[in-house]
């Protein structure tokens, strides 16, 4: 299953809630303001990094670049473009939006 998260974890509980419901082996894509969750050294980073032992985390590069945080992304988070976003939705049978 692919979970997609478009909210900043500093502002809303969406990512927190998503991580608590994501089964082992599932994928999480951060996009729009959700990419702020990918910043290393933030108060949220440790929580995401610990989740990354069971799930794979992606971030949408166009949104990362728009927000000026391209050089701050946590190691191990995979950057994808819109084509990669589509491939993730094709590779996973269900897409769950955390709005």
């Amino acid at each position: 299953m692919l979970h997609i998260v478009n909210k900043s974890p500093f502002d809303k509980n969406s990512l927190e809630s998503c991580l608590s419901c994501a089964s082992d082996g599932s994928a999480v894509l951060l996009y729009e303001d959700g990419v702020y969750g990918a910043i290393k050294g933030s108060t949220y980073a440790e929580k995401l990094q610990s989740a990354m032992s069971n799930i794979t985390v992606y971030a949408l590069e166009p949104d990362v670049k728009a927000r000026g945080i391209a050089d701050k992304v946590i190691d191990g988070i995979k950057l994808v473009d819109y084509t990669g976003f589509v491939e993730l939705t094709a590779d996973n049978e269900v897409v769950n939006s955390w709005l």
Binding site: N6, V86, A90, L99
Partner: protein
């Protein structure tokens, strides 16, 4: 691979319509099929032809109309959500006793069943919203 894409927010205020547009384009470029794009909640506000954004900004509405024309997309606006928010085609406008309509080219107004049908017939339903 067949997609239905749901858009829950209007143009400019939230990035949802932009993200959905870029996603839809990428789906088409991959050679996958877009069965339907369904506009719900404030998403219906993407379908007004009265929009006039600043010259140096993207035109969110026209982009959808043009993509629909180029790829024969089915852009469906939920009628109940549209009535609450003042989006109407000529027929809806007349039926509700209004003196004007504002639906942009390439969009059509229909019921929520079109969303459910999209969920049943498509391989993937992807929701963009707030």
């Amino acid at each position: 691979m067949k997609y239905t894409i749901q858009i829950n927010e209007g143009p400019y205020t939230h990035q949802a319509s932009d993200s959905a547009y870029n996603f839809t384009k990428a789906v088409l470029e991959k050679g996958y099929e877009v069965f339907r794009v369904f506009f719900y909640h404030d998403g219906v506000n993407n379908a007004t032809r009265l929009t006039t954004p600043p010259q140096d900004d993207r035109n969110v509405v026209n982009r959808w109309s043009e993509l629909a024309a180029a790829h024969d997309l089915d852009l469906v606006v939920c009628v109940a959500a549209a009535q609450r928010r003042g989006i109407a085609d000529a027929e809806e406008s007349q039926r509700n006793g209004k003196d004007a309509d504002n639906l942009a080219p390439g969009f059509r107004i229909s019921g929520l069943g079109q969303l459910i049908e999209g969920g049943i017939i498509s391989d993937r339903l992807v929701v963009f919203g707030d």
